[in-house]
């Protein structure tokens, strides 16, 4: 493979064999199918998809935790199945939404210990820990036992662990999952800053927050049900939607509206309603602006009073809708197995 590809996958696939109990017959679950990705050195690459799309599975394969059932993958030019030890020297990984770490150690001890595994001299490790802790905003908690930290702070500690080492490729699996708005913003700006300061390092980030992919990533692959559906810069992904017009409408309605009445209207591409605190939010995309009058007519017919109406720019969520025919949260609701 070419020298300056940080990650490459070739027809990568993963099937899980699952069985809920001993009596039940084994079923197969296709978690990844024919994934072909090329991530260049220095890129901040995003993998955007709903829960259950296969993002974590892909990260696990690339970080040598899981073997693929078909295809191959390379990280920093090394085959992940054949040279796992070599790959591990060049990567680091952080998963969001979990509390990991040795609770009886302080934050500093936890981080120092991991730095030891990577062979970073003690003094250098402590210097980096201090710098990173200041940037992320937990410098005053370095001597706190990590079990005494809130979930959010523990996650920040985990994120520092990922950025501590001399790596070539960093994998962040939903790094802001479970963080509050402020902390997520901190983490995002830290990631962006780190990429600017380390132009030769590569970062693969997964997320199901489209804002995150849109704000942060140089390129984004949209993934659903184990397949990569599109891969490009956020701007170019949205280019395909330049002929569509997007509206957000908040209406005052006592119950859900009859969707089909709207979808029947000529020129309506997509219609989605979701109840909010004391209104109903409608996401509507139209082929041309003129159709809006018919929408308003139909709203009146269903006695829904308009509270607010906004025209907005297309987002990656709209790209997802265009590719899959459903919004991300709709796919998630279907994908969750009933057990």
């Amino acid at each position: 493979m070419s020298q300056n590809l940080a990650v490459k996958t070739e027809n990568l696939g993963r099937i899980y064999k699952i069985r809920n109990n001993r009596k039940e017959k084994q079923r197969e679950l296709l978690a990844l199918e024919n994934v072909n990705l090329e991530i260049r050195e220095g890129e901040l690459f995003g993998l955007l998809g709903p829960n259950g799309a296969g993002k974590t599975t892909l990260i696990k394969i690339l970080t040598t935790l899981l073997s693929p059932t078909s295809g191959r993958a390379w990280v920093a030019g090394l085959d992940v199945t054949r040279q796992p030890a070599e790959v591990r020297k060049r990567i680091n990984m952080v998963s969001g939404g979990e509390t990991s770490g040795y609770g009886l150690l302080t934050v500093r001890e936890n981080l120092w210990m991991f730095a030891q595994f990577y062979g970073i001299p003690s003094a250098e490790a402590n210097r980096r820990i201090k710098t990173l802790a200041e940037i992320v905003g937990i410098a005053d908690r370095l001597n706190t036992k990590s079990s005494d930290l809130s979930t959010g702070l523990r996650q920040k500690m985990n994120i520092i662990r990922g950025f501590l080492t001399d790596l070539e490729v960093l994998f962040l699996d939903e790094p802001t999952l479970g963080l509050d708005v402020g902390a997520s913003r901190d983490v995002r700006s830290f990631i962006r800053r780190w990429m600017d300061e380390n132009p030769h390092r590569t970062l693969l980030l997964t997320t199901h927050y489209m804002v995150e992919a849109e704000e942060l990533c140089d390129r984004v692959a949209i993934i659903n049900q184990g397949r990569v559906l599109a891969c490009d810069t956020p701007a170019r992904l949205k280019q395909n939607l330049r002929h569509e017009i997007f509206f957000q409408v908040w209406v005052d309605a006592s119950r859900l509206l009859d969707e089909y009445a709207f979808l029947r209207i000529n020129g309506v591409k997509h219609f989605h309603q979701s109840p909010e605190e004391d209104s109903l939010r409608l996401e509507i995309s139209l082929e041309e602006e003129a159709v809006l009058s018919e929408i308003i007519y139909e709203l009146t017919a269903q006695s829904a009073r308009i509270l607010r109406l906004e025209k907005r720019e297309p987002t990656l969520e709209d790209v997802f809708v265009q590719l899959v025919g459903q919004r991300m949260e709709e796919v998630e609701n279907v994908a969750v197995p009933a057990d």
Partner: protein, 293 residues
């Protein structure tokens, strides 16, 4: 070509680093007692209580014949057997502890860590605590129960070599259990203790193998632990131990050779078994699989 020796020394430092850092961590975890007094009491009472039960049973069965060589034989066998669960559990428990409790196993795995060396390192603290138990038990035996241990007649070189080989052999056996633990997402919580408990009666720890029915004896002859305990006893109370029938035909040198050879066989087997389990665990995605309590 010219990179090769360099590669080797880097590899060596990975192993050493994994071992030392893990030892540090293991000690932090093991010594994390909020009350050191409680810790010391517990570490004393547990082994002494175990020995006391054994002594009580012995005294009932033999009507208090503490001068018999059998007494020293079983007392020392029992005392040193404490290393078996300590090391087996020390090496294998880490897999569950890191995977289920601290949720760090995947981060250890994706780091440039040699996992077997990491596991051995984590076991060091358990070995030290185990040693404390062994020393306490023996001290109690010598001070209060007339265990015939004459310090000036101990064969120290033999003792140290046997102890080293035995602990190495136990650590490698622990690696096999660690591999099994890695592959089974649950059900292997106490695998180290269960295996140690199950083998206790077959290793001649508290009675000679001759006591076992004929068809069960081969188990004892196949276990390196049996030869190890015999060597330890001979190094400590030579004449008394040699009074026992099981290995009278074998010299200390023979026993040492058997122990070394079987440790080697175990060692090689354990490395292959661990690699196999490790591979299987990655095939099945078990390295970060947590059980939902």
């Amino acid at each position: 070509m010219k990179g090769a020796p360099m590669q080797k020394s880097v590899q060596k430092s990975v192993n050493l680093r994994s071992f030392l850092t893990a030892s540090w961590l293991g000690w932090q975890i093991e010594s994390n007692w909020t009350d050191p007094f409680l810790f010391a009491t517990y570490s004393t009472i547990k082994p002494v209580a175990g020995a006391a039960i054994l002594v009580l049973m012995y005294s009932i069965v033999t009507q208090g014949n503490f001068d018999s060589p059998v007494f020293a034989y079983l007392y020392l066998g029992n005392a040193f057997y404490q290393y078996v669960p300590a090391v087996l559990t020390g090496v294998s428990w880490t897999i569950i502890d890191d995977r289920e409790h601290y949720r760090t196993l995947k981060y250890i795995y994706t780091a440039p860590v040699n996992i077997p060396f990491y596991l051995f390192g984590r076991a060091v603290a358990k070995f030290i605590v185990g040693t404390f138990g062994v020393v306490i038990t023996i001290a109690a035996g010598v001070l209060f129960l007339n265990v015939p241990l004459d310090w000036s007649r101990v064969d120290w070189p033999l003792f140290l070599v046997a102890l080293f080989l035995g602990v190495l052999m136990l650590a490698l056996s622990g690696l096999i259990l660690a591999g099994i633990t890695l592959m089974t997402a649950r059900h292997s919580y106490y695998i180290g203790d269960v295996v140690a408990g199950g083998l206790f009666l077959f290793t001649g720890a508290i009675f000679p193998l001759e006591v076992l029915p004929n068809w069960l004896r081969p188990i004892g002859y196949l276990l390196p632990i049996t030869y190890w305990l015999e060597l330890i006893r001979r190094s400590l109370v030579g004449a008394v131990a040699e009074a026992f029938p099981t290995f009278t035909a074998l010299s200390n040198g023979d026993l040492l050779l058997i122990l070394a050879a079987s440790s080697l066989v175990f060692g090689i087997a354990s490395i292959f078994i661990f690699r196999y389990c490790d591979h299987q665990a990655r095939e099945r995605g078990l390295i970060d699989q947590t059980t939902n309590y």
